[in-house]
Amino acid sequence: MKVLVCIKQVPDMESRFKVNGSGDWYDEADLAYRMNEYDEYAVEQAVQLKEQLGDAPDVTVLSIGPDRVGDALKKALAMGCDRAVHVQDPDSCRKDPWQIADIIASFAKGKDFDVIFTGMQSQDRGSAQVGVTVAERLGHNCTTTLVGFGFADGVITAKRELEGGLKSVVKLPLPALVTCQLGLNVPRYPTLPNIMKAKKKEFVTVPAAELLSEESAVATEKLYPPVKSGSAVVLEGDLAQIADRLLGILKEKTTVVK
């Protein structure tokens, strides 16, 4: 069985974000990068599937971006993926989801991946498009937002997260692509021996231009910080004074604090 996991490297979301000089993306200076949280669940599920099937599957992990995404790929190898493909693209942030999906689909075409795992969305852009679009391009069965995954007799049983805590159960035969939601599993930490082992695994670099054939479908016009409504009363400084002022406001403005 051949498995593909698609991951993205994103900035730590706790960072302070500034608009870059050309006004079309965030300033990448001084940001710490990590594997997109949703994709960690995708990697873990791929590795668990491999373990379930007695190490038979061959798991390829793929990421698109500049040199730094090598770190995310190495982590995925240390978590248990067999080989890494780095689609080298210093300008990946300017590609829209349609183009990113085109790159992945071009790579996967003809390689007969039985199962493809992706995160349900990236933490920075959050379009939730790439996985499903890849599936459509490849003609794979597809379902999204997994919080449960089972595999038996060539059929995936997926538990999807819907709104308000409701879940639904769906069965789909291979070949299939599924997108992973937070809480699907518990992503493992790479151990030191596995980090060492990962250094010996296959690591291939492909220029994005060799795979991309589509124009972007959506244009970014402008990037800016949220416009502050300015209506919030800001309290800061001495804790006792803050507490007094807050309770004073709540007594005046609400009916539930007396």
Binding site: T145, G165, S168, A232, V234, L235
Partner: protein
């Protein structure tokens, strides 16, 4: 300009977000035509294409895609609009791929005819414009206030041939609730900013001192610090208490969508510029773990 609005129902009930799509189309100034795989048409003065849910299934994206494509073929819309929901984000990219057009996800506003989206946990925003003549959009739940359900639809049945290898097995209900946040007058919620599981107890104590219930944001629930029944947001509960106190919550768009209808919102956060400040009436810039004991003492003394 014409917008085809893809409405949603679950187990026979039309979801209120369908009426948010109508509000969105009105804001856009677009003529609207609705599509629903269901039993009964939404209450709206517009044309509604109704596909039989018994035939097409509650969740069968391959078949639902064919239904939407058929409606597009009949109506030739400029925009095909979904809710950014478990249904919409699953189905919209399939339709966009079939049409080979761009998709704009999670629209929160319309600014000068462009679509406004959030980036990086709503810490930045951007406007985008589709390049082609037609585009697929998904709209953030709660971003556009639903119009009232009233009117009489001109219903037209829609039918397509098609098959799918996907099999919908059924629903699994939400975990049994030990708390009903929907009825609470005061909710005090813990976010990732409280640091660790042990600190959630302090927020729970603060909630008790206020006479309210404990809420939580998604990361806190995913980390296993609090049961899912306490989760506020699009994948948890949508709440509208008289007072909402957000502790160490930065304000991801999914959380904001679940609590912004609260009457009065207090945010306690070390970061003055956290996106939650946009929704807050009072922004307290402090470490909630230090402030909570002081607040509790004064509440108990009162």
């Amino acid at each position: 300009m014409k917008a085809l609005l893809i409405c949603e129902q679950r187990e026979g009930k039309i979801l209120d977000t369908s009426y948010e799509l109508v509000a969105f189309a009105d804001r856009l100034g677009a003529e609207k035509v609705l599509v629903l795989v269901g039993k009964e048409a939404p209450k709206v003065d517009a044309k509604v294409y109704l596909a039989d849910v018994d035939k097409f299934g509650e969740y069968n994206p391959d078949l639902h895609k064919q239904v939407v494509l058929e409606a597009i073929h009949k109506e030739n819309p400029d925009y095909v609009v979904f809710v950014h929901s478990s249904y919409g984000w699953d189905l919209a990219p399939r339709v966009a791929a079939a049409l080979k057009v761009g998709q704009v996800s999670e629209v929160v506003n319309i600014v000068d005819g462009k679509f406004e989206l959030t980036l990086c946990n709503a810490k930045l925003r951007r406007t985008v414009a589709p390049k082609g003549a037609r585009a697929v959009l998904t709209v953030q739940a709660g971003a556009f206030n639903a119009v009232e359900a009233s009117g009489s639809a001109q219903v037209e049945a829609i039918d397509v041939a098609g098959s799918s290898k996907l099999q919908f097995v059924g629903y699994e209900p939400a975990e049994k609730k030990d708390v009903d946040l929907g009825r609470a007058e005061i909710i005090v919620s813990a976010g990732r900013g409280v640091g660790k599981k042990e600190n959630v107890a302090i927020i729970a104590e603060l909630a008790k001192a206020f006479g309210g219930e404990l809420g939580a944001s998604r990361p806190v629930v995913d980390a296993g610090w609090v049961a899912h029944s306490h989760q506020v947001g699009t994948t948890g509960q949508t709440v509208s208490p008289k007072l909402y106190v957000a502790c160490g919550i930065s304000g991801a768009i999914q959380h904001l969508a679940g609590m912004k209808k609260s009457d009065f919102i207090v945010a306690i956060n070390k970061d003055k510029d956290a996106p939650i400040s946009e929704a807050a009436d009072v922004m307290v810039v402090a470490d909630v773990l230090q402030l909570a004991p002081v607040l509790m003492e004064k509440l108990r003394a009162a």
